[in-house]
């Protein structure tokens, strides 16, 4: 017969265990809520500057200049965006945002596509061929990692101006287009392509160009997509180089344009500056969010 003390002890133990489990559960749930709260706060803190600009861009210039800092939408959205798009800042630079956006877009696209194109070719040469000077070429590319445009800015400007490329797309883009990072990423990836594939291609009589087009390029699409996001953002966000190399409105980029629009702050049309800011950050943010999956993978892999 088991009733009596033993049964009581067992029941007590079960009750205790249940209580402990419940406590742990409550604690976990409370921690989860706390986690959510802090994360939401973090997200809000991140979004606050954007929210202010987004809301401010829908008010008239007087409201913003008075310092009301509206946190809710106003009635001037269409007007402000249309004015910024077609006219820019009437009181300062007078360059339409549409023109600057086009310049930024051309620059970002050409930098991204150009970097990917020349890097994939040079990585292909370094990995799939053997030739005198291979190592030297690799190191020459590799060492450019140590020479970001910021540290060689004036001599580079000198070279570009000697070539007569100031205020041209070529001058704006070409000096930014060599990329050690992209070359290294492609090289790393190419080294993982199995030798058997090359063997098979050779046996089938496919030459290196055919192999590149039919095997290497299709295999590289994920890497290309990831690099595209990173390099598009890099190109769109350039500041110091365009600031030096563009003095005419014809090739002015949007990132430079906003800062010039603010000018001396005497009679800045803040509402239009805000509308322009929203327009300026839309394309790179859209690219990052839409291509998030490749971007995250590519970023973490490129840098390591």
């Amino acid at each position: 017969m088991m009733h009596g003390p033993v049964a009581t002890i067992r029941a007590e133990a079960i009750a205790r265990a249940e209580a402990a489990a419940e406590r742990a559960d409550t604690a976990r749930r409370r921690a989860d809520w706390l986690t959510h709260a802090v994360l939401i706060l973090g997200v809000a803190l991140f979004a606050l500057p954007i929210w202010i600009v987004l809301m401010g861009s829908t008010h008239d210039v007087a409201t913003v200049s008075r310092g009301e800092v509206p946190l809710l939408p106003g009635p001037y959205a269409v007007e402000n965006y249309a004015a910024a798009w077609t006219e820019g800042s009437a009181r300062t630079t007078r360059v339409p945002v549409s023109a600057m956006m086009l310049n930024s877009f051309v620059m970002a696209m050409l930098i991204a596509v150009g970097k990917i194109a020349i890097s994939i070719l040079s990585a292909y040469a370094v990995v799939f061929f053997s030739f005198p000077g291979r190592l030297l070429a690799f190191w020459a590319i590799f060492i450019t990692l140590m020479l970001p445009v910021e540290v060689r800015i004036f001599p580079t400007f000198q070279v570009v101006s000697d070539l007569g490329l100031v205020n041209t797309y070529t001058g704006l883009i070409l000096p930014l287009i060599a990329s050690a990072t992209a070359t290294l990423l492609f090289r790393q990836f190419f080294l993982t392509i199995p030798d058997e594939l090359v063997e098979a291609a050779k046996m089938d009589g496919a030459g290196p160009l055919r192999f590149f087009k039919d095997v290497v390029l299709p295999l590289s699409t994920t890497n290309i997509a990831a690099l595209f996001v990173i390099l598009f953002v890099y190109g769109w966000n350039q500041y110091l180089w365009p600031l030096l190399i563009t003095t005419s409105a014809d090739v002015e980029t949007i990132v430079i344009g906003i800062v010039k629009m603010i000018g001396a702050e005497a009679d800045t049309e803040w509402n239009r500056v805000m509308a322009t800011t929203v327009l300026a950050l839309l394309p790179p943010v859209a690219v990052v969010i839409l291509m998030q999956r490749w971007f995250v993978k590519g970023l973490v892999e490129t840098e390591k």
Partner: protein, 293 residues
């Protein structure tokens, strides 16, 4: 590391390398070489005669109290940008790594500032910090704190630090999250079974395992603070007031562009190059060590 099976062509690889090597030579090696060469030269006031002066440009640079100020400002600025951007990112990543509902949504909501240009980030923060039209700036002046980053050097430095760090958090967040997710669950469970508290688990298990990521990000953030924040500073403070936010890169720009002092700006470029080389070398020592793990 290299392939065993390769193509036999000899001419083709040179052709494939040509575009990149040509650009690298014309826009990287040529200018870098010129910067080094010019840093040993001095032009007279009219730009007619140029003479070789050895290391004089460098000696002068490091005897210039304004330049030493710039060095100090750069160090303070870089320290705070890195510390802020990394600690906030680590905190958020640890939270987002907990298996809660909506973790992916938080991730999406936290990564987009990566796409924002430093100069645009600066413009966004004008509407927070501006003494008349900024949310916080106006509030501070309202309660009697005299806040104006265009007049007060310390406040200017705080403003550019916050704007620069804000932009970099999302990048750090992505790497910390990737780092956290690669820590084996079993290790954490073992620590939990041993009765370690969450805080203790973090500092004795998670943080050490995360150290390669932390170290990597340290180098990246320092590089960012040194060079990529030019846009933030130019848009917010133009290096002022009274050079309070004039970092090395900003000063090199002003000396070259505005003061047209070729010798000094070249010497500054060379100093910056040495800084990048040092940072890159540190980074690669670390990568090599990681490969051996």
């Amino acid at each position: 590391m290299r392939k065993k099976v390769i193509f036999p062509q000899v001419g083709l690889p040179y052709l494939l390398l040509l575009p990149q090597l040509a650009i690298t030579f014309v826009f990287f090696f040529l200018p870098a070489g010129q910067a080094i060469w010019f840093s040993f030269l001095r032009q007279d006031a009219f730009g007619i005669r140029t003479e070789f002066v050895g290391l004089e440009n460098f000696v002068e640079l490091f005897q210039d109290p304004l330049y030493l100020d710039s060095v100090w400002i750069t160090l303070v600025f870089s320290f705070w940008v890195t510390a802020l951007a990394m600690s906030v990112a680590l905190g958020l990543a640890v939270l987002a790594d907990r298996h809660i509902r909506g973790a992916t949504a938080y991730k999406t909501l936290l990564i987009w500032p990566y796409a924002i240009a430093p100069a645009v980030a600066a413009v966004l923060w004008i509407f927070i910090f501006h003494p008349q039209i900024g949310l916080l700036g106006k509030f501070l002046n309202g309660i009697g704190v005299r806040w104006d980053y265009k007049l007060n050097g310390t406040q200017a430095l705080i403003t550019v630090i916050v704007a620069s760090a804000w932009k970099q958090v999302s990048y750090n967040f992505l790497f910390f999250l990737a780092g956290l997710q690669s820590i084996p669950r079993s290790v954490l469970e073992a620590a939990a079974i041993d009765g370690a508290s969450p805080a203790r688990r973090f500092w004795t298990v998670v943080f050490p395992l995360l150290s390669p990521t932390t170290f990597f990000l340290l180098v990246i953030n320092l590089t960012y603070a040194f060079f990529d924040t030019f846009g933030v500073i130019d848009a917010l403070t133009k290096g002022g007031p009274a050079k309070a936010t004039s970092t090395l890169i900003y000063r090199a720009y002003i000396d070259g562009r505005v003061n047209l002092d070729l010798g000094s700006s070249s010497a500054q470029s060379v100093v910056l190059m040495l800084a990048v080389i040092a940072l890159t070398a540190v980074q690669f020592r670390f990568i090599e060590r990681k490969v051996h793990y």
